[in-house]
Symmetry: C2
């Protein structure tokens, strides 16, 4: 998967940025100020034209690439961000904030509500993808960037990218939308609702006010993650990785001993791990953002009208085995872009990794993303330092 | 969907059958006696050659057709069983037992363990599909039937049918295997394990000993059902039925009111309803039967060798939009049957109803099943009474 010139960013540091400009949310509530944990990789050029914004998805964070001192593995998109990688930090200044409402240090349900001086918890305002965009827009000012060379994201990240393209058409030159959709299907909403109900069913949830107890709804959050995890993988990927192999027991006739499949133990492990890392209120909040997103709701439900506001170029990428955000959703995006006269490149990448493919090594994906951004770098006349 | 000569069985009665012959289970435990709730429709002919066994799936019962006095809807397969229907009670004597381990009156986790005089609960012996077949084999003796005209079942029901065909080749003339598989995929096992974990995570579960409390793990069971339900429907069916329609709220900017999609309310309703009808220990037990089933495990993992033991004819049916038991699984069954020289008819039915299609009205499915069984009736020279 690695090309010879590929190397890691090495140790990276998290920046704590205080945004003191008010942020008016779609729900009408105004956050007078908010904090963002941000990581940046590479150097902003003198013209401030080489910045790329990375928009994370449901469980993502600001730590997209490189290593923290206590990391067991690098940032979530380290395969694609770094010197010589597809998002090449030799050419670009890469900005990745942890978005509000999440739980990795930016303002969210775990933060204190300045008005009550108590933890927000379940009272944190409901959010939309456009609120993340609005916060990122304020962050742009913090770095004195006038226009992103590209805004890039997968899944919920891609929804923010599309929102950027039509709400701030002058503020980005390229939009890269990966494994995303203009709106979720009923099936997607159903899986999200089951995950939310799993969390809310946990007696330790206390209607979201668990911060006032000594417990967190770990069981519910683990279940939510297990449901998500299965839907992010393809049937083929699970079959290849686990098949019907057993971890415990056997099927001899005449035995009552328990039997456990590898896949069961793997999923339980993933669920438990996640329940120690993520916040239940954030999970509920962000899955609702996914459900609520509908690109063209404010444009007479016509994606072509919506995209007519865009001025940037587009790269749209999907993965063949993704059944949570099927390739058809990306084709629909591409069709709407073409119909509204936009410059769009669409790549359907063969992969058996399901929705998770957007995070995993894949030579063709790497070539598509890297090749597109190489052209962007060339067009910006960004010199290789 | 109805043909002119189609009519209902009307009121039907449940029979309570005590099987006093010992039943040796695959796990080695022997049930000295067991009870079965059974429904029969139509009349057994003098030669006792016109009997059809119906094998139910995960949540099925003996009540396959007709009405009970307090029914809001008829038995679970009423579309296909009745006078003039595909499984025509004018021609056939249809036998449908509730299988052991289930919770509709037959011996199972809700029954008393005769040795301890306490409710079995989680200590009910682990079961395999072959145990259901063995119990049905004893039931056959109860009705003095030597050979089934056909054994029919969908999903887990189809697994029992296949097991019948190779374990008791002399005891059936036709095997009808609908929306089934020779073994589950890792993805299927994963969904079952999440459902089980949802039940076990419910603090009212008490490691399955909830019969000794005044509660049942309703929340966990509801979640388990919601997960199952989504996987039994197709994305298209859900989109057609619910789309992104809202039940509560709207998306006006500047509002913090909650929003609820129709699909959310529907799923929550289905989960709650099921949690009042089904037993949590039975759900765990029967999902494990599904996971453990592997047709050819005892035949050097070679389905062709397994099916070489069969002597009956086969009808295999699958549905195009079934992603829990995809058509490919039925094609694999058919290929193995052909390779072992069996007489097999395979029908892939176009449907957008997902796995649930095997329970729902569908003209082509009705024709395939009805046409096949009409020929069976003719070959048996069963006179129309």
């Amino acid at each position: 998967m690695s090309s010879p010139n590929e190397s890691s960013l090495g140790l990276v540091e998290t920046q704590h940025v205080s945004i003191t400009a008010p942020l008016k949310l779609a729900c009408g509530i105004v956050l007078d100020a908010h904090d963002l944990c941000v990581e940046t990789y590479g150097r902003l050029n003198a013209e401030r034209t080489n910045a790329i914004l990375i928009c994370h998805a449901l469980s993502g964070s600001h730590h997209a690439a490189g290593w923290h001192t206590d990391d067991k593995k690098p940032g979530w998109w380290d395969h694609y961000i770094g010197p010589g990688k597809a998002i090449d930090t030799e050419h670009f200044f890469v900005v990745c904030p942890n978005n509000i409402g999440s739980c990795f240090g930016s303002t969210g349900p775990l933060s204190q509500n300045p008005q009550t001086e108590k933890v927000w918890g379940p009272d944190f305002p409901p959010l939309r993808a456009r609120d993340w965009m609005a916060s990122q827009h304020l962050l742009m000012a913090h770095y004195h960037i006038d226009c992103w060379a590209a805004v890039v994201g997968g899944s919920l990240g891609g929804m923010q990218v599309m929102r950027w393209s039509i709400e701030h058409p002058e503020k980005l030159l390229n939009a890269i939308v990966i494994a995303s959709a203009m709106k979720l299907s009923a099936q997607n909403i159903a899986f999200n609702e089951i995950a939310r109900r799993a969390i809310k069913s946990d007696p330790d949830f206390h209607e979201g006010r668990y911060a006032q107890t000594d417990k967190v709804p770990r069981r519910g959050l683990a279940l939510a993650r297990m449901i998500g995890h299965v839907t992010y993988l393809s049937d083929t990927a699970m079959a290849d990785k686990f098949g019907r192999e057993l971890r415990i027991g056997d099927f001899l006739v005449g035995k009552t001993d328990p039997v456990e499949f590898q896949i069961e133990s793997y999923l339980n492990y993933q669920g438990d791990k996640f329940s120690n890392e993520f916040d239940a209120n954030s999970y509920i909040l962000i899955t609702k953002m996914l459900d609520y997103f509908d690109l063209s709701r404010d444009y007479q439900h016509d994606p072509v009208s919506a995209f007519q506001h865009a001025k940037c170029k587009f790269l749209v990428i999907s993965f063949t085995s993704d059944w949570r955000f099927p390739a058809q959703c990306s084709k629909d995006i591409t069709d709407a872009l073409i119909a509204s006269g936009k410059n769009v490149t669409y790549v359907e990448v063969d992969s058996d990794q399901g929705h998770d493919a957007f995070l995993l090594p894949n030579p063709r994906y790497q070539q598509a993303l890297g090749g597109y951004l190489k052209r962007v770098a060339a067009q910006l006349r960004i010199p290789n330092r």
